[in-house]
């Protein structure tokens, strides 16, 4: 238990360092890419090249991903400042969200299925 907790802690520190590297890199190269995406790509490269073994970040990553949703709660509370917008255009926004989600799902789904059928033929 203590061992697991220790692993989670230092692995999160390691993930944090990779995150900071991503933020730094994006700033240094003046990219219009979010720093956390750069950090994720760096981490993937480290794993794919075998420099970092997956086991090295398993405990920390598992913990963060298991409770991923937690982090969105404090962010969503910021919605409190948009009461007016929700009362005024809440319904329009809901329609937009539904229509655009369905369009996206239909496009990806049918495109992939067509491509697969063409390949299998």
């Amino acid at each position: 238990m203590a061992r697991k907790l220790f692993d989670i802690c230092w692995q999160i520190v390691f993930l944090w360092l990779v995150f900071r590297c991503g933020v730094w890199l994006v700033g240094a190269l003046n990219l219009s890419l979010p720093g956390n995406v750069a950090g994720m790509l760096i981490m993937f490269a480290l794993l794919a090249s075998g420099i970092v073994k997956p086991g090295l970040i398993e405990a920390g990553s598992g913990f963060l991903l298991k409770h991923f949703a937690f982090f969105f709660i404090p962010i969503s509370v910021g919605l409190i400042s948009f009461g007016g917008l929700m009362r005024q255009s809440g319904l329009e926004l809901l329609v937009i969200l539904i229509v655009s989600a369905l369009v996206g799902a239909a496009v990806t789904g049918t495109a992939v299925q067509q491509l697969q059928q063409r390949r299998d033929r």
């Binding site: 999160i12 993930l15 970040i57 937690f70 400042s81 491509l115």
Partner: protein, 230 residues
């Protein structure tokens, strides 16, 4: 109330809400019992009820969201575990995810402009199909609002995971690869969770789609979103 006390109070409330709603969701597994949605409603109601505002909540928020950066980096791990599936279906994955991401953004921003929403709201709608930490950053870089985007992302996740599977069946999309990719592209983690319930392949593809859609959207958003904002 003093600062430290208020801060601790908000952290305890947020963690408690999360754990309670998570338990509720895991017990009943209904998509409407979304822990983020329920907890947010509870905390906003509490803030309104006590007359406290966002400024009081902000210090606690800053600390609690601090681990979101490393959590995003952790997403590399599931992508790495699915690298074989990715390699095997490279073309359909890339083409499908890119087409879906562009289509959903175009539909949202096109409809939003038609309904004359203001620029901040439109910009915040742009990255709504992407996982929250990345969507929030894309939105911030493009001039949108982080909490609006977060709300759109969570709502899109719920919409896609509730309506997505029936729509795909209606469009006669049966391939688990295609269904998983479609759900992951549009509804990120929440879509992936539903795909995982359909089959293991669909779940793996959902995870891959979620990662690719996030990176792709982050790359194209600075050039693509302005097309709809002029």
């Amino acid at each position: 109330m003093s600062g430290v006390l208020l801060f601790s109070f908000f952290v305890v409330i947020t963690v408690t809400c999360y754990l309670a709603t998570r338990k509720l969701f895991l017990t009943y597994r209904h998509p409407l019992l979304n822990p983020v949605f329920l907890s947010t409603v509870a905390i906003i109601t509490m803030l309104k009820g006590t007359g406290l505002g966002l400024d009081d909540y902000r210090p606690a928020k800053e600390v609690m969201t601090y681990l979101l950066g490393p959590a995003t980096v952790a997403l590399a791990l599931p992508l790495y575990h699915n690298r074989m599936v990715l390699r095997e279906h490279m073309l359909p994955v890339m083409a499908g995810v890119m087409a879906g991401s562009l289509a959903t953004m175009a539909a949202a921003l096109g409809a939003g402009r038609l309904l004359q929403l203001d620029t901040t709201v439109l910009t915040s709608l742009g990255p709504k199909s992407v996982t929250v930490p990345i969507a929030v950053e894309i939105s911030r870089l493009a001039g949108g609002d982080a909490s609006l985007t977060a709300a759109f992302v969570v709502a899109t996740g719920m919409i896609g995971s509730i309506m997505g599977p029936s729509l795909l069946s209606l469009c006669r999309v049966q391939s688990p690869v295609a269904r998983g990719l479609a759900l992951g592209t549009v509804s990120h983690g929440q879509g992936t969770a539903v795909a995982l319930l359909e089959s293991e392949t669909a779940g793996a593809m959902g995870g891959v789609a979620m990662a690719i859609a996030a990176v792709f959207t982050a790359l194209v958003a600075p050039y693509y979103l302005p097309l709809f904002l002029q």
